[in-house]
């Protein structure tokens, strides 16, 4: 048995080395980009390759010159993703609760069906949707984009929230029912506060999905509502002249809001789990 602690130490060291190597691989491209954004670029024409440039924030200013509406697009992205995420979670929570607290034939199949629906690529339905939205005069409006994004992410939100709610003990709810509380009182005052970490975590993940979505705004807008991915895609489809440091600066700016969000709510994100419906 004396070999065990030594072996454990060796395993611990191996684990630390492997993890650090993996971290380096996954972070290197972003570090490279961040360096370029502050003006430090590799020069591969020399042997051995060297670094050129000195630290500067000029390229961040350059973004606003190359794409004058960039800051407005940042605001558009924030508002539409926040509204869509709020709508997704608001609509999904009652449904997830209904699924978690009732037993009917095929309830598990329905839950798993939401996961399959969540896997369905938006491409499968955005072409006809663009025509429906045009007829409903919702093209190029916040309402059109937000409602569509909410529908795209709702199945995943239901699936995740269902997992969180089914692990919640129903003791408090029973007490509230006995006190004569109504359905929405039970959800608003008992279920939502108890499941708050999972709800917030789901909202954040959905926010990131909406923030990065290209296809929905691409197909449903005509210039009025422009999100960051749409602006970037337009820029690089039509004029590829942009310098690397400026592109890198734009990229870093588009990453910072979601990165900050994830850092601030890291404790809550620990509660994000794809809980698979259990056998009973």
């Amino acid at each position: 048995m004396s070999g065990l602690p030594a072996q454990r130490r060796r395993n611990g060291a191996a684990r630390a080395i492997l993890l650090t190597a993996a971290l380096a691989v996954f972070m290197l491209p972003l570090a490279w980009t961040a360096l370029a954004a502050i003006g430090l670029r590799a020069n591969n024409n020399t042997r051995p390759p060297s670094w050129v440039g000195s630290p500067t924030l000029d390229y961040f200013r350059e973004v606003g010159i190359a794409e004058p509406s960039f800051w407005q697009e940042l605001a558009t992205s924030t508002v539409s993703a926040a509204c869509a995420a709020a709508l997704t979670v608001t609509a999904s929570l009652p449904a997830a609760y209904g699924l978690a607290r009732s037993h009917f034939r095929g309830d598990r199949l329905l839950t798993q069906g939401f996961l399959v629906l969540a896997s369905l690529p938006a491409m499968a339905y955005v072409i006809p949707l663009s025509d429906l939205m045009r007829r409903a005069q919702l093209v190029d409006t916040f309402a059109g984009v937000i409602l569509t994004e909410a529908a795209v992410t709702a199945p995943l939100a239901i699936y995740v929230l269902h997992g969180a709610l089914s692990q919640l003990s129903s003791e408090w709810e029973e007490a509230a029912w006995l006190d004569g509380a109504g359905l929405f009182r039970v959800i608003g005052q008992i279920v939502a506060p108890l499941a708050a970490p999972s709800i917030v975590a789901t909202a954040i993940i959905v926010f990131v999905l909406d923030w990065n979505l290209l296809l929905v705004p691409l197909v449903l807008t005509a210039g009025e509502i422009k999100t960051i991915p749409l602006a970037m895609s337009d820029f690089f489809t039509f004029e590829r002249e942009l310098e690397w440091p400026t592109a890198a600066a734009a990229l870093i700016i588009s990453l910072v809001p979601v990165a900050v969000l994830v850092m601030v709510f890291h404790r809550v994100l620990d509660r994000f789990a794809l809980n698979v419906p259990r056998v009973d």
Binding site: W32, S119, L129, A151, V152, P277, R278
Partner: protein, 289 residues
């Protein structure tokens, strides 16, 4: 429980409206339209049978797209699962600053597919890129960007996607692995189990349903690949990285061929629904066993 039928109706109503109006109805309308000559600004609609599907299947570009996405999915999904599982396995026991690790695992996924395409275009490029920098240090000559190479463009696209998604898979698998009671690891260790046995006998059976669910999501993500290639390669060179979703988009919004765009989009949906049916079956057998 106490929920009545009326309660359930009220609870499901908001999501039912949202999903019917913005997802199910358009999808079904699209399916119906693929059998007609329907177009957004067209005047008369005629029934055209399977003409649209025949047109799509005859198109060599769609054939290339199907081949590409098959390779993409078959290579990318297992790699994402394997790397993601390995990372999560390394992080399963408490480690200093595990929350920071879990946040860092999310970071590549926070980069949008579009921004990712922009980033890797430059990183693959020679003047200031990452690859030639490494080659330069090894004293090797520069290589042309793989995304411009007929044979390397698809592998490069897969690599970029794996870079973005594998850590996210680890983020999703980690809660499953860390919820395994520590006695089960201890028992395995005391019985002298090697790490491969621990993975096969302790870890995998516990997270099997979770891995299945993640696989489903990854297959859908893969089959719908659109913005990941739009900027990185634009489908090129030639048709070497075109995907069915990119093809649909180009047909519908590029050359205004609405029916073929919708028909090819429905073929993607059919693929995902097929995978979904398999998933529902496999997930169920796993539960009863």
């Amino acid at each position: 429980m106490r929920l009545t039928r009326r309660d359930r109706l009220v609870l499901f109503a908001p999501v039912a409206v949202l999903l019917t109006g913005w997802l199910v109805l358009p999808a079904l309308l699209g399916l119906f339209a693929t059998f007609t000559t329907y177009a957004p600004f067209g005047a008369a609609i005629r029934f055209s049978g399977l003409d649209n599907y025949a047109a799509v299947l005859r198109d060599g570009e769609f054939g290339a797209a199907v081949r590409n996405i098959a390779v993409f999915t078959v290579v990318a999904v297992p790699l994402e699962l394997a790397i993601g599982f390995a990372l999560a396995y390394l992080l399963r026991r408490p480690i200093g600053g595990r929350w920071l690790w879990r946040v860092l695992l999310l970071v590549p996924w926070l980069v949008s597919p579009v921004a990712n395409g922009v980033m890797w275009r430059f990183l693959f490029g020679s003047a200031t890129g990452l690859i030639d920098f490494g080659l330069g240090w090894l004293g090797r000559p520069d290589i042309p960007s793989p995304v411009g190479d007929l044979r390397l463009a698809l592998p490069a696209t897969v690599a970029v996607e794996v870079w973005r998604i594998a850590p996210f898979v680890a983020f999703l698998v980690l809660p499953g692995l860390s919820s395994i009671p520590s006695e089960r690891w201890e028992d395995a260790t005391l019985n002298g189990a090697s790490w491969t046995r621990k993975v096969l006998d302790v870890a995998l059976p516990s997270v099997r349903p979770l891995l299945l669910a993640i696989t489903m999501l990854l297959i859908g993500l893969s089959l719908g690949t659109f913005d990941g290639v739009l900027i990185l390669t634009g489908g090129g060179p030639g048709t070497s990285t075109v995907t069915p979703a990119l093809y649909s988009y180009k047909q519908a919004f590029g050359v205004n061929d609405w029916p073929t765009g919708a028909a090819s989009a429905w073929l993607i949906a059919a693929g995902v629904i097929g995978a979904g049916l398999v998933y529902l079956r496999v997930a169920r057998t796993g539960q009863s066993g």
